[in-house]
Amino acid sequence: MMAKGLFNFSKKILERFSNPENVGRIVKPDGIGYVSDPSHGIDLELYIKINNSIITEAKFKAFGCAATIATISMVSEMIEGKSIDQALAISEDEISAALNGLPPSKMHCARLGRELISSAIYDSKKRSNI
């Protein structure tokens, strides 16, 4: 019998969680997003490279539960190749759908993902204005 794992996660979430893409930092990023609340078991960083308003590279670091790690890895992939406006328009439902559905108890992970994208892009805008 195949072990189902916590919360009956989709295969995609388990895959992402077991072998997440884009783990790490970018040395000279154009933007860094932070969502941090270690006292609630959450600490996330997203690094992005931007060229002509297109996100060309994204990497992340995550302290969090399995669903959070899978979600942030997925988010980092989803924004690669997208324009800043397209990345900002990604909805929580789209993030969940990309993972073949987050369980209801883990939907907050999609919100964290959105917040992280906004935070990184906001940082990049601040940097480019200087």
Partner: protein, 391 residues
């Protein structure tokens, strides 16, 4: 995939011998124990025999054992039953901040309805200080409830010392012995308690059956009203098969305590030594010596317990964590917080509990898996750099 179960504190598999003993009471001797005909009598006799043997095993009389649906009901019956019964005498209950939810939530419920509750602090090992109980007693105190051993960190509380204080003050003393019964000696006389909760499924018995010991002479208000079973303390048709199974499980497990204690303690300490030596920034939670033979609880810095647990699960290893991360409920273990652990460390805790089928190979396998998993998760964690200031 082969699976290794290391969550025996959550529940244990039912011993095949226990299941075998139960079966006739589901299919053949199915009478209602309250019925006066021979079917009823058969069931009644089986229940009384089981009651006698369970009572015997804890040093109690048959008439002092009330069967319940499990540990939670036993705790509820003890705490509410005594509180309701002694309404005219007082309203104050003393408990600890690390009790099982079955006790702590019951106290919170009573608190909302006007009772005063003292939730005693514990030290960094999870120990309750008997002197604190002495200080907390008022002339309105009607109950002291302190668990025998903690279900998360395995710390064994000084129950006999507390009992001396409650006896002197003439206050009923309840202990939740769900984690200790069948694992270390439990005797109501040597512990000196007035009420004691036990459960079958923690000692290779079936789920859905437990018992409350109530010292002779102590009265409590029942929670269930109806046919007056269990000497009017707990109405409802008795769960004959499970009661018989419970007694069988007790018989089998109590015999094993001396040998299992030695075997499990050595496996436990092997694991603790292994993880503390092989993985940096880990620590043991709970008392190093005054500890259940089968309990390991460790904090692993910079990573979150649930993600460790799922990784282990994917490797076929089933353990438990003090961290629950969900939208509705998002908090680390109340036990670890009460022991003074910072929230980040409480989030990185893992509980591994051993049992009858755990062997040295399992310990080595989980250690190897843990090293790989921790390395992988720490590589992802932003906290490693923040705390250690490297890179």
């Amino acid at each position: 995939m082969k699976r290794i179960y290391l969550d025996y504190a959550a529940t244990t598999p039912t011993d095949p011998e226990v299941a075998k003993a139960m079966l006739p009471y589901l299919t053949k001797s199915y009478g209602n124990p309250s019925s006066l005909h021979s079917f009823g009598l058969e069931a009644k006799e089986a229940i009384e025999e089981a009651r006698g043997s369970i009572a015997d095993s804890i040093g109690a009389r048959s008439s002092e054992v009330i069967f319940t649906s499990g540990g939670t009901e036993a705790d509820n019956l003890a705490i509410k039953g005594i509180t309701f019964q002694n309404k005219s005498r007082g309203d104050h209950i003393i408990t600890s901040s690390i009790e099982h939810p079955a006790a702590i939530e019951t106290c919170k419920f009573l608190e909302k309805r006007g009772n005063r509750i003292t939730y005693l602090r514990v030290d960094s090992n999870g120990l309750v200080d008997p002197d604190e109980i002495k200080k907390a007693i008022t002339n309105k105190t009607i109950l002291v409830s302190i668990m025998h051993a903690n279900n998360e960190v395995g710390t064994i509380e000084p129950i006999a010392d507390i009992a001396k204080i409650t006896k002197e003050a003439d206050i009923p003393f309840h202990t939740d012995a769900v984690q200790t019964f069948g694992h270390i000696p439990v005797n109501v006389k040597s512990l000196g308690v007035d009420l004691l909760s036990v459960s079958a499924h923690k000692l290779y018995g079936p789920k859905g059956i437990g018992a409350l010991y109530v010292r002779k002479g102590l009265e409590l208000t029942p929670l269930f009203h109806g046919g007056g079973q269990e000497n009017k303390n707990r109405s409802g048709t008795e769960n004959t098969a499970s009661i018989v199974g419970f007694a069988k499980a007790v018989d089998l497990t109590i015999q094993e305590i001396p040998t299992e204690t030695i075997r499990l303690t050595s496996l436990r300490d092997l694991f603790i030594k292994g993880i503390l030596e092989k993985i940096d920034d880990t620590r043991l939670n709970g008392h190093p010596q005054l500890r259940l033979p089968n309990n390991i609880n460790v904090s692993i810095d910079y990573i979150e317990g649930e993600s460790v647990m799922l990784n282990l699960d994917l490797e076929g290893i089933c353990v438990s964590t003090g961290s629950a991360c969900s939208s509705s409920e998002h908090g680390p273990s109340h036990v670890l917080l009460a022991m003074g652990l910072p929230r980040e460390q409480a989030y990185g805790s893992l509980r591994i509990t051993l049992g009858r089928w755990t062997n040295e190979t399992h310990i080595e396998y989980i250690l190897d898996s843990l090293i790989k998993i921790v390395t992988k998760l720490r590589a992802m964690s932003p906290l490693v750099v923040k705390v250690k200031n490297i890179e």
